[in-house]
Amino acid sequence: MGDASRENGTGPVAPRERRRAQSALLQQRLPVVVLCVIGLVAGLALPFLNIAPNRLLSGHASGGQQGVFALLWLVAAAAGGWRGGAVAAVLLALVLPLIAAVDATLLLHHKPPTTRIQLGAGFWVMWLAAALLLLDRLRHVRAGWRAVAWAVVVVSLVVGGWQGVFDDLALVREWQAQRGAFTDALASHVTLSLITLGVALTIGAPLGYLAWRARRAGGTLLSVLAFLQTIPSLALFALLIGPFAWLAREWPALAALGFGGTGAAPAVFALVLYALLPVVRYTVTGLDAVPADTREAARGLGMTRGQLLLRVQLPLGWPVLLAGLRIVAVQTIGLAAVAALIGAGGLGRFVFLGIGQGATDMVLLGTLAIIGLALAADLLFQAMMAATGRRA
């Protein structure tokens, strides 16, 4: 930078200019420095893998590659200040699981078959740091390249897993042992979330429209919904057992449909209650997004209320509503985990069963799947917003 201005013939760089350039550079590199320091410390001080005698007992640390990790993070830090930062981050995100897999295979030699090699705190912290580094380095890159970078990471890991590269890690073993149950849980989690989303939209969008038309009543509705949101999810699920059991007793037809104090029905009911606030609020915001003069013109030109809604308000408010649904989807996928407690199934079962048994890998399996599902839903909605965003 100093060279450039000297070439322009402006003489020595003014101190203030130099300071501003330095602070901009620092701001740009600060995340790299912080993340690489975190990675370095985690690599040196935290256990990368744990060796456990079986899936229920906790293990003891195994180490020895501190030198390798130190080298990796120093390289990443050096690359991070330069264009190769993103490539370094991609490699880091791939190399860390690979090291873990190879190590696990070596460690399992001459060990009893029940022995489990668990991923340790060191691995998780470093991997997270690598992912954040990738996120940071991709910030100023075109959307296409961003997608390519993430696809490379995800596809490589999936293909590797398919080929059995990670088979010796406890997490993968756990998955293999529970494959059937896992698929069922994933399916019921998705179903639960989709039904919730559908019902919340069917009820919430008309409620939002009414709340928008009648401002004062709408304010009351929103505060009631906001109050519902403050009830802890665990407590709400428990509170619903009584009324739903009573309903099932009074109307046996409902019970025959699978209605009862526990199960999917009260779970969906509770999840819908939580989803209503964002759906209603974003519907109101979406309707507010239509300029008042556009509405005035539409009415003055002779559109009926229905035509105004379908031809003007819906297309103009749709992006906002979609943004709301994105939040609702992610929130519902997270909350649906708790629904396992009242027998609604879903990935939450893995978490709670795992806690009960003390099987960390089972908890981890459920948690990672929920996070993955939420991320996938988020991406899906982002793609939909990008597709409809330009001309609503």
């Binding site: 300029p291 539409a298 030109l301 003007v312």
Partner: protein, 305 residues
Amino acid sequence: MIEFDHVRKAFGDHVVIEDLSLRVEDGEFFVLVGPSGSGKSTLLRTVNRLVPIDGGRVLVDGQDVATQPIEALRRGIGYAIQSVGLFPHRTVAENIAVVPRLLGWPEAEIDARVAELIALLKLDEPGIAGRYPDTLSGGQAQRVGVARALAARPKIVLMDEPFGALDPLTRESLQASVKQIQRETGTTMLFVTHDMDEAFRLGDRVALMLDGRLAQVGTPLALIRSPADERVNEFVGGTRAYLRELAVRRVRDSMRRDEAAEGDAVSPDATLQDALGVMLAERRERLPVQGGGAILLSDIVVRPR
């Protein structure tokens, strides 16, 4: 024909229109002028029932608007507003076609009408029909707004300060377009403005509205030359009103056909204001008129129409 028959409107305790009766004739360019809060916009909006009235009747072609189906009534009346209110998710062509489409015109007829209006309102920049409102200038957007109001060939058009937010040059150009279209199509126009010059330039008749009442109704010259009372005189501009008169009177009415003069000829349709401007620019006291004859400074000053 629009008829207001003892119309009364109040918002809560605040009376906006008080026992107002007025008749706008077929094919007339009628301007409601007055300060903010005088009730002129409210009166305009009672015609297409955007504002419900508390007393009296509003008649369009002899029929009480209150008895007509509201959407059919509105689709039959053109409507343009100051903020334009184009549909941001629709192209220029789709915006213009809104009312014909609501009325169920055949597509071919709609396309032909849109093309016609684009030419009529001088929107003939290549490709403008497919553009979206956020790419238009303020003047272009209001031209589209006016085209949308005229699209279904309504017999009555309501315009609520449509040019208030435009720069002077764009405004004058649009005023000329609208006046010409109105004259050629014989549309009945009810036009609201707070700009006295605009009112006098456009209106066949002008109504000055003050505090929910009609202070005076008449031709621009009548308001200028014989204001009904002191307040009207004040609004019309006192002695400055005679400068406005120059913008209303035409060269053809004050010229001498049997005389000649040197210099750039002015059109007989030009206003006396234009002619005076040319005289000042060329430092002459007389100018030739296109097609023969001359206009004299002394006649501008003394000879009444």
